[in-house]
C-alpha cells in the first residue's frame, strides 16, 4: 500500500508539473507532450518511456487496490457486530474517506483515460493538438467541474495517504517526526491538488485560451 502509494505521489507531482505548461500556450504544451514521447530515444523506441510508466502505474494500481480491498475485508471481519452508537473522537475526514475516496478516484482515472488518452469521450471536440483538446474540454463547464471535484478527492486522499505512508514505512517513530509527517501530507495535498486545479480554473477564468 505504502510503496505503490509512493509511486502515485511521484507520478502526480510530475504530471501536475507537466500540466502547468498549459499556461505557456499551445506550442509549449504540445512540445512538452511530444518530448514526453521522445525522452530517452533512441535508447528506447518512440513513446517507450511513456509505456514503461504506464506499465508501472497499472501494476501499482492493481497492487494498491488489492491491498486496499484486503484491509477493507479484514476490517469487516474484525468487527462482526457493529456498535449501536459510535462516535468519531479525532479522526480526520480524509482518513475516514480513504476507501470510498479511492473508489471515486479510480472512477475518475478511468474517465480521464477515456477522455484524454484514448479519445473515447470527446466533450470539447476531437482536435489533434493535446493543448486544444485540453482547453476545449475545460470550456465545457461540467468537464471542468468533474476535474475540480476529482482534485478535491485527490487532495484528501494524499493528505492522509502521504502521512500514512510515512507511518507505515516506520519513519515517524518519535513525536516530532510524527508531526512532520502530518505536515508533509498537508503540503503535498495542497501542492498537487492545487497545482492540478490551476489548469481547469485557468480555462474557466479565460486565462488559458485557444
Amino acid at each position: 500500500m505504502a510503496v505503490t502509494g509512493l509511486v502515485f505521489i511521484g507520478y502526480v507531482l510530475l504530471h501536475m508539473y507537466g500540466n502547468l505548461w498549459a499556461f505557456s500556450g499551445q506550442e509549449a504544451f504540445d512540445d512538452y507532450a511530444h518530448h514526453l514521447r521522445e525522452l530517452l530515444t533512441p535508447m528506447l523506441p518512440y513513446g517507450g518511456l511513456l509505456w514503461i510508466l504506464r506499465v508501472v502505474l497499472l501494476a501499482s494500481l492493481v497492487g494498491h487496490a488489492a491491498a486496499a480491498f484486503a484491509l477493507w475485508s479484514r476490517a469487516a471481519k474484525a468487527r462482526d457486530r457493529r456498535y449501536a452508537v459510535k462516535k468519531v473522537v479525532t479522526a480526520t475526514l480524509s482518513s475516514r474517506t480513504m476507501r470510498w475516496g479511492g473508489v471515486a478516484l479510480l472512477a475518475f482515472v478511468i474517465f480521464h483515460i477515456l477522455h484524454l488518452t484514448t479519445h473515447t469521450i470527446n466533450p470539447g471536440g476531437d482536435p489533434e493538438s493535446p493543448y486544444l483538446r485540453l482547453v476545449g474540454s475545460f470550456q465545457v463547464w461540467w468537464v471542468a467541474v468533474i476535474y475540480l471535484l476529482a482534485m478535491l478527492a485527490l487532495g484528501m486522499h494524499i493528505r492522509h495517504g502521504a502521512f500514512s505512508m510515512l507511518q507505515t514505512l516506520g519513519l515517524t517513530d518519535n513525536r516530532r517526526r510524527y508531526r512532520v509527517a502530518h505536515a508533509v501530507g498537508l503540503v503535498l495535498a495542497i501542492v498537487v491538488a492545487g497545482g492540478f486545479a490551476l489548469v481547469p480554473l485557468g480555462v474557466l477564468l479565460g486565462i488559458v485560451t485557444t
Binding site: A78, R81, V85, V88, V89, T90, S95, T168, R177
Partner: protein, 247 residues
C-alpha cells in the same frame, strides 16, 4: 441526577443480544461509573432480575479489566479508564448507551463482559525477554539513555485494556502491539529477540482476527494511558527490519 441507560444485554456468548432501557434515579455526581452500575445491579437483583455483567478489578485505573463503550466512546467522555470515570461527567436527563467492546477477537461472554485472552496469547507469542534478568542489579550496570528509558517507560504503562481495539474503525490492536514492541525495543534487554518478537506477535495478532492499521488515530484518542501513535511506527520499523533480515 436522573438518567436513562441503554445497556447491551446478552445472556451468553451464543445468544443474540439486544439493547435494554433502564431508567435510573438519584445518581450522585461523586459516584464512579461502575458504582452507578452497582446501584442499578442491586436494584435489578432486588427485583428478581439478572444483574448486568461487566468486568472490573482494581477500580484504580491500573489493571485494565474494566472497559465499556459509553455513548460511542471507549471508556466514555474522559481520557481515563471506565472505573475512573465519574458521574459528574454527565448531566441530568442524559441518555447513556453502554455497549461491550465490539471486536471478533474479543467475543462477548455475557452482557458487557468480553473475553480479552487474545491479548494474553499475543504476549505469549513474544512480548517478553527470555533470559533471566536476575536480582535487581546496580541501576547503572547497564546504562540506558534517558530518552530511550522514558519512551520505554511510557510504552510500558499500557494496561492491556483493549480500548484501542474497541475504538479502531478497523478493529486493529496495533496500538497495544506497538506499545509492547516499543517497550522492549527501547531497552538493551529487548534487543536479542527483537526480530522474532515482532514477527511472532504480529502473526498472532492477525490469527486472533484483529484488523489492519490504517493510521486513523482513534486508538490514541481513547487510550487511558495516552500511548502515542509513534509506537505504531516503531512496530512497523521493526517489522520492516525483521522482514528484510529474513531475505
Amino acid at each position: 441526577m436522573n438518567l436513562t441507560l441503554k445497556i447491551w444485554r446478552q445472556p451468553n456468548g451464543s445468544a443474540t443480544g439486544e439493547m435494554v432501557t433502564y431508567p435510573i434515579t438519584d445518581v450522585s455526581e461523586d459516584m464512579s461509573f461502575l458504582e452507578m452500575l452497582d446501584v442499578l445491579n442491586e436494584r435489578l437483583t432486588a427485583e428478581g432480575e439478572e444483574p448486568v455483567a461487566f468486568d472490573s478489578d482494581c477500580r484504580e485505573g491500573i489493571c485494565g479489566m474494566c472497559g465499556l463503550m459509553i455513548n460511542g466512546v471507549a471508556h466514555g467522555p474522559e481520557v481515563t479508564t471506565t472505573c475512573q470515570l465519574h458521574m459528574r461527567s454527565f448531566s441530568d436527563g442524559d441518555v447513556v448507551t453502554i455497549e461491550p467492546w465490539r471486536a471478533s477477537g474479543f467475543p462477548v461472554l455475557r452482557d458487557l463482559a468480553v473475553d480479552r485472552s487474545a491479548f494474553d496469547r499475543i504476549i505469549d507469542a513474544g512480548g517478553y525477554v527470555s533470559v533471566n534478568t536476575g536480582a535487581a542489579p546496580d541501576a547503572h550496570a547497564t546504562p540506558v539513555p534517558k530518552e530511550n528509558a522514558e519512551r520505554a517507560f511510557d510504552a510500558a504503562t499500557c494496561i492491556s485494556c483493549g480500548a484501542c481495539v474497541a475504538a479502531c474503525p478497523n478493529g486493529s490492536a496495533s496500538l497495544f502491539l506497538g506499545a509492547k514492541i516499543t517497550h522492549l525495543a527501547e531497552l538493551p534487554q529487548g534487543q536479542a529477540e527483537r526480530h522474532t518478537r515482532v514477527l511472532n506477535m504480529v502473526h498472532q495478532h492477525d490469527l486472533e482476527g484483529f484488523g489492519g492499521c490504517t493510521n486513523i488515530g482513534e486508538c490514541t484518542a481513547v487510550c487511558p494511558k495516552e500511548i502515542p501513535q509513534d509506537v505504531i511506527a516503531t512496530l512497523n520499523k521493526d517489522m520492516r527490519h525483521a522482514l528484510w533480515n529474513r531475505v
